[in-house]
Amino acid sequence: MREESLAFVAVENVSKTYSDQDSSGGVQVLRDVSVEIAEGEFVCLMGPSGSGKSTLLTILGAMNHPSEGRLVIDGIDVYALSDERRADFRLQYLGFVFQQHHLMPYLNAIENVMLPLATLKLAGIEKRRRALDVLEKVGLGDKASRLPSQLSGGEQGRLAIARALVNDPPLLLADEPTGTLDTKTGDEIMKVFLDLNSLGQTIFMVSHNPANAALVHRVLHIRDGEFEATSDKKDARTVTRLSPAL
């Protein structure tokens, strides 16, 4: 279904209320939120804890049904899809970098990266080749057979990014990927994202770090489930950034 809006990603009047056993009405986490993301854009979402950042990100991630409103990506009304079709959609369109990385501790680096390809009918060698490609992209080509526990925090973050990229997703989502890391390693991860974006990758990232805000096309501020008017908007095509080399 084609939309009148030409934006690659459109969040249209989304509200989210979590049902709550205690209060009958439930907790409203997002209130009538709308935002559009263009292809190739790098958007950063900032806001205090509990403001609804992760909720918005999982809604964008096609895995959390909004109470109201809709999400349209590439002309597809995502939450109109059945549960199984939505799983296929995630595989086809999205890469998700979790705050805690959520790597499988019993699989080595390359196996973790191949995980999203497990359900695809591809030759094993082709899956391996693709996984090795993205591992190299994030600078982990030489650590393919290490277990996550044998990697540093920064390397684990890069491994999580590699896994999110292996299916070649048009939209990359990341929930505070630098949150648990020290500044230096956080910058290292941020550089990976910036490099990816400079190659055309669309990225939507939740971050607490104000330093990152200066490096992206656009920053959205959220408070109590609503965007603040002070959203800083730049044109994706004209933005000038610091050199990725930090």
Binding site: T58, N64, A87, R90, H102, E111, T119
Partner: protein
Amino acid sequence: MRISTIAFANLRRRKGKALFLASGISIGIGTAVALLSLSGSLREEIGSQLDRFGANIVVTPHSDSLALDYGGISVSGVSFDQHQLSNEDAAGILRIPYRKRLSVVAPKLLGTVEVAGRKTLIAGVDFASELRLKKWWRLNGRAPESATEVLLGYDIARAVSAIEALPGTSGAADQGTAHHSAAPDVFRVTRERVTVGGREHRIAGVIGQTGGPEDRMVFAQLGQVQDLLGRPGQLSVIEVSALCKDCPVEDMVAQIRKELPHANVSAIQQSVRARTEAVDRLTQFSMVVSVVVLAIGALMIFTTMMSAVVERTKEIGVLRAIGFRRTHIIKGLMIEVVIISAVGGVAGWFGGLVASRLALPYFTEAGAQIELRVSLAAFAIAVAMLTGIISSIYPVMRASRLDPSEAVRYV
């Protein structure tokens, strides 16, 4: 990397739990296999005992005169009643609805003839069926093949000096006591011909001493005896053996009665029957115990899978988030369950077989055996997998319904 790769990795990672589950299943399956194969071989044994006992249904004419006695069965022989059995009646038995379950129908005519000048009981039989019925007969020589050949009982053979004891074995044979039956290999047939009913016959063989009525009898082909006795087409008794262990003998008796209304049909009640009932009860008991043990195994799988799902909430959520369908999650978990159950099934089948083999001597005399039946192995493995799958359906469905956003939200 495929879904099965993840399943195998998970099995390797949780070896202890997998082994625990597999051994739980194998105990259940092992118990079932042991009990079932034990009662199965007891059943086999009873079957062969039944065979050894010979006939289990006897058909005789209606008669008031109890003239001759044959193996404890009263046979009306001398008087010519109007209700004689005939060859046609033997054929009639083969027409009953349960005819497929008949293993032997042995018609015979009994009467007395002179054998080498002595009055002797003679039986005209169909040797092919008679020998299948009298499994305990041990012939020195062979069965008669023509009308002019006869088979002699041991005592008769001695009386007409047709045999002599072999050297070194004479003691038992000469005393001829009931306690020391003479096997056919301790004597030698020395006479070729004998006069039966005034006609010359060839001695085809001699039956080793049995201690039963056949020791004092002569056997010849049915037609020949009917001819000798002047009773063409007539029969004195028809012995019937049913084929199976759990034959509906009572029903078969009723069907033969219906087919031969003029005859006396009776089932021979034997001690084997009591034993059959005991085994039936053992079989039922085995079934109940197996079901209970399997139910416990199923419960164990259920709780283990439930806790595994809780334990893996995060992992399953991640897989769902990166594009696994519900069915992919189900497939992965079911691969694990099926592998565990199959291993448990094979181990249980093997263990059960070993256990029943060890236990068998306590239940039967030597001779009974535990057979290696492919069907039992297949059955054991199938039941194991079915138990595993059925008891995991709910936990696995629950896992597949985990909300990915929920699952990955907290640390």
